[in-house]
């Protein structure tokens, strides 16, 4: 049995408001690897992640980051998603500049625990470079059965953005 299997890749051939993974398989953990940018007309965008179609303010986040010569840490409660990636490139950056991130979703099939995520990513060389490490919490004990990724400010993911969902097996 493979330890890590690719479940599905979405490679956008046109701008898209969101990306959905609805067949998550029966793995122990999930990982999403993404290469992304958005059509936002101003600098910097976040990649939100929602579970099971829950668009309510049931998510919280914490993160630490470095940007230029500024380091920091921040967090939010009562959010409409966790961050799979934080502050990536937009239409104001070079057209071939895409951000990257890896996001882990652990024990996602468990139906008695809130879901905690862990992600790291960043983009160097854009107008405001960022590297970040962040946590997220979905305040719901349901097993995760679907995942939606969407830009945090209502723009679209740009054509060429790529999202691959992986499943990690246990022994």
């Amino acid at each position: 049995m493979a330890a890590i299997e690719a479940i599905a890749t979405t490679y956008l051939e046109a701008d898209a408001a969101s990306v959905t993974f609805s067949s998550l398989g029966s793995y122990e953990h999930l990982q999403i690897r993404l290469s992304w940018r958005t059509t936002r007309a101003s600098a910097l965008e976040r990649c939100l992640m929602q579970f099971n179609g829950d668009t309510g303010t049931n998510y919280s986040q914490h993160r630490m980051h470095g940007s230029g010569t500024t380091e920091g840490s921040s967090g939010n409660i009562s959010q409409t998603g966790v961050f799979a990636a934080y502050w990536g490139p937009t239409s104001v950056d070079d057209a071939t500049m895409y951000g990257s991130a890896v996001c882990d979703i652990l024990d996602y099939r468990n139906g008695s625990k809130n879901t905690t995520t862990m992600a790291s990513g960043g983009t160097a060389g854009m107008g405001t470079p960022y590297v970040t490490f962040q946590s997220g919490l979905w305040d719901n004990v349901a097993a995760v059965t679907s995942i939606v990724l969407l830009p945090g400010s209502g723009s679209d993911f740009t054509r060429g953005s790529e999202f691959t969902l992986y499943g990690l097996n246990s022994s």
Binding site: A3, A8, G66, G68, Y98, A101
Partner: protein
Amino acid sequence: MADPAYIVDGVLTDGEAWVALGTAAPDGSTNPITFTSTDDGQVGDFSQYMDLVLVLYCRDVVAATDHVNTGLRYNGDSGSNYFFQRFYGDGTTATATNSSGSVGYCMIFPANTATANAFGAAVVHIFDINSGKYKSCVSHYAADRDGAGYVGMDTMTWKNQAAITSVGVNAGNYFASGSRIDLFGVLPRMVA
């Protein structure tokens, strides 16, 4: 070394997403350590992978310092086309810094005056290597020197749209004997 069970005659036979592409055990006299695509449609051909992942456990022999920046060059490009953003801690202070240059710095490793036998660990994720995008990576590293050292994460962009066909890991001087570098390819799964 024999192919693992999921590779038969150079063809992947199951859904294993991470494929071991190569291992280097530096001898203290070679720099850079370079992994090159076989470009033959077989397992070592980078063109079939979405991402690459480097796993490193290294020490540098560069003199008169206890640590050294370490970086990558893609496709042998030695131009000033690499940009990085760093965020690290030294046990007391968290610091952010960014710069650009002819090497894509994304790691710190112990060097010659560091505690004997102290090697640093790092993992580097390189994304969408066959696309027409600038190539972006994210790295994490731990360069503990027993009472001092660094832990950090970087992101690095190579401002070039070419597909990556080789990855050179550039030491400050040479990687010390005992260092180890492994390269993995990460497969996508295109579904209708």
